[in-house]
Amino acid sequence: SDFQLEILKKLDELDEIKSTLATFPQHGSQDVLSALNSLKAHNKLEFSKVDTVTYDLTKEGAQILNEGSYEIKLVKLIQELGQLQIKDVMSKLGPQVGKVGQARAFKNGWIAKNASNELELSAKLQNTDLNELTDETQSILAQIKNNSHLDSIDAKILNDLKKRKLIAQGKITDFNVTKGPEFSTDLTKLETDLTSDMVSTNAYKDLKFKPYNFNSQGVQISSGALHPLNKVREEFRQIFFSMGFTEMPSNQYVETGFWNFDALYVPQQHPARDLQDTFYIKDPLTADLPDDKTYMDNIKAVHEQGRFGSIGYRYNWKPEECQKLVLRTHSTAISARMLHDLAKDPKPTRLFSIDRVFRNEAVDATHLAEFHQVEGVLADYNITLGDLIKFMEEFFERMGVTGLRFKPTYNPYTEPSMEIFSWHEGLQKWVEIGNSGMFRPEMLESMGLPKDLRVLGWGLSLERPTMIKYKVQNIRELLGHKVSLDFIETNPAARLDEDLYE
């Protein structure tokens, strides 16, 4: 604007504008500030603000300045009358002038009260020319009006005048202006953004661009998102793929008692088969028995009286229990089916699945009726427990978990069985991260697999490591409909190898 140009010219001329108030008295401080801000943004100048306190006389103050203070008015009246009845002060001078004038005249020692309750001039004024008397109030007001030596006025007096509403306080804003790093006397408009026109016409070369505020977040962009649990699942899948594992057809939630339990050498009275733990199905009600009758006969034998070197559980095994339908309680039901298939052409094999399993459990912060099980199966000739340990170390190392310990445990279908523990830096304790073992000969040899083909299995839940890693307290906020879409949308990439505790 013109004013901005005027400021620049003046600054060029003076090198420094000490007071914009003095230099540009016709411009209000708001105008000055916005012009200065705008120029500063372009680095034309620097400025600092100087605030000064001012006082103006009120109407009453101005009147006193002209006519003299109330106390002078009173002493002049008393001189004129000789004496004045106190009760007449108000009627002669009016209530305001009378009251203040009397108080201040007494204070100054100008008047005294005689025995008949009349006011007279005090002894020291008896022979004084009243026109010689200093009217302090008037002279201070004059000083304020002329705006001179305000510093010398006692703050008490100023406050008193403010209280008496003879003066009003104000503020004057002034600016001190100096040249900026890019000082010049011309003004160019700064561009905010590079446009396609500027690119195509080369106009950008002659333009100046407004500095960008980098201390900012940018705009929210609209975006889709994959579910955090499925992102972790994908990490696991990639680990399995990298180790040569093929994904099992785990898309079969309804299982028979046979595949979910009997095939895995879980006896028919095992607590896992209780209504308390397993979802049974009422419609459809009854499954078929497997076609492989030799296999069925072997399973009956290993449960009832033993076979393949086992003494068996020694109870009456009932095919009806096999025909009960359940929602699979573990994906090992699928592994069993795959291993039975493997018996037709036994060879080293690696299989995995990550899919849903179902438990008839009371739902709480760490338990849901359905969750995902990660399961690996590795079959090879004459592999050892040491191989299992080594393999587990390799597997978990790929998800960033090292320093494993193995604890003997019990599973109906694996022997030996090992719980896998790792030290958790965040929780500062050993946590169980999975379960593993060698499948029992009763299970494998019943299928027709050769004795020396040993099969390792291990499993863990998908939710637990995800919850530990990403500090999700409640499983229902991870899996199921109670998840927050914001949580899904803002969840970072899942990287199991990323150490969150360093």
Binding site: F241, M243, W259, P271, F279, I281, D288, Y315, D387
Partner: protein, 594 residues
Amino acid sequence: PTVSVNKQQLFDLLGKNYTSQEFDELCFEFGMEMDEDTTEEALKTGEEPELKLDISANRYDLLCIEGISQSLNEYLERKERPDYKLSKPTTKLIIDKSTEQIRPFATAAVLRNIKLNEKSYASFIALQDKLHANLCRNRSLVAMGTHDLDSIEGPFHYRALPPKDIKFVPLNQTQEFTGDKLIEFYKSPEQKNNIGRYVHIIEDSPVFPVIMDSKDRVCSLPPLINSEHSKISVNTRNILIDITATDKTKAEIVLNILTTMFSRYCDEPFTVEPVEIVSEHNGQSRLAPNFNDRIMDVSIKYINSCLGLDQSADEIAHCLKKMSLHAVQSKEDKDILHVDIPVTRPDILHACDIMEDAAVGYGFNNLPKGEKLSNANFIAKPLPINKVSDIFRVASSQATWVEVLPLTLCSHDENFKFLRQSDNGDLAVKLANPKTLEYQVVRTTLLPGILKTVKENRKHSLPIKVFETGDVVFKDDKLERKAYNERHWAAIYVGKNSGFEIIQGLLGKIMQTFRTEWIADYGAAASGRGYWIEEDDSVKTYFPGRGAKVMFRSKEGAEPKQIGHLGVLHPEVMMNFDVPFAASFVEVNAEVFL
């Protein structure tokens, strides 16, 4: 199962005051888990500190402090395995054929000249409770009773009698009950969670099992209660244990565990007085318990091969001895170990169980780690339907939809009524025993889960765009498992407007990702692979006139088939799920792209 033991008592028995960490370590290597050490709590309550130990479900011999300390002492090589012996029988248990109707097996034994104190008496009771709850499946398979032998007189009889003919004062009562009155009594609200829990095992039977002495005094009414008359106390010197069961194997295990664990307190330690079981009707007369040695032969090569070790017979025997298994090398075959399995270890079923004990004795964490198994010979493959799923998932998220993972189980209403659908019974798999209404059926559409997710996120800014790729389950009588999974993909748009064209556009984007172009004129405009939608008012879930089926022709000449549907969701459906917005939805069978 978890077993609580007195901490100081256990440490005294182990001859060492372990630090918490040391004991944790010992448990870990042995295969127990220390769940809790109540030392800090006990300081406040003034009670004696306890350790809560998590025991493997097949180690019934570790369900009491006697067994835990015995096994740990053997593991630590501080003590020898006891040699359990039988003395001479002095009494009989005569089993009547009538018991076949209700609870056919029974066995018994006597702990003669026993001296219990308060701690061991409490442990004796607690072990029975643990066995009842675990191995005995809440007394349904096996129940045990204990009696002061000096208050009753053998021979004893195990019979099944009509409830009215059984009359006795049950334990902790003062009044005499008949069998039928006793059932009523235990079904009362006060008893419901106590003995009442076991009433169902016999209540519908015309006869109840009962154990009586030679004077026809009732000793116990299994599986419910013993008699007040024969009850034992800490001062009882001669205890008769009776076991009744529907499972003979488990009955014998229970008797063996009870007698081996507590015979240590008899004047002649580890010696049990057997009872002559007379069971003529089924030819099972015998002496009980049976403490005969059980020998299992196991190959040294097999153990070494499984463990990746090259141990000698002696070395393996040493490891096994720590686990209470005594092994000697066969004289005929140097590869064979004869392993003597004590009656306390019914969990040993196969040589693999011995192999595991050899590994535990050696220490899992001391085993030589195998050579790295080669990954080279295996070609990894994803499951084809999962690969198709991933294409759906990536394309949907690229199209700015958000993936959700609702549950597979839902209520019957959510799957049918709330969607304005009726159940004709041939589609959905129904659960028999859900704990809540939330889990009545396995979903046959992805819509309920998606709408429930939207409901929970109603406060989210509109529009809400979410999708799921997941399995639904359908019945199929022809299959062994009578049901199969089908992979579906579904997406919803929820906003101020129905957004039908947006959902239609998303479908187009997905189809294009699967190399399937839209064909105009309901498939007539071209004859090759492609898709189109046709108005279809048969799905009542959609607003009338706003529902359509998705048609797909896989290749030139192929018969077009419906692979899904889409439409504007009916306002009733929205309100049934508490979502007061307009919405459009699409669901497609993903398996057609296999």
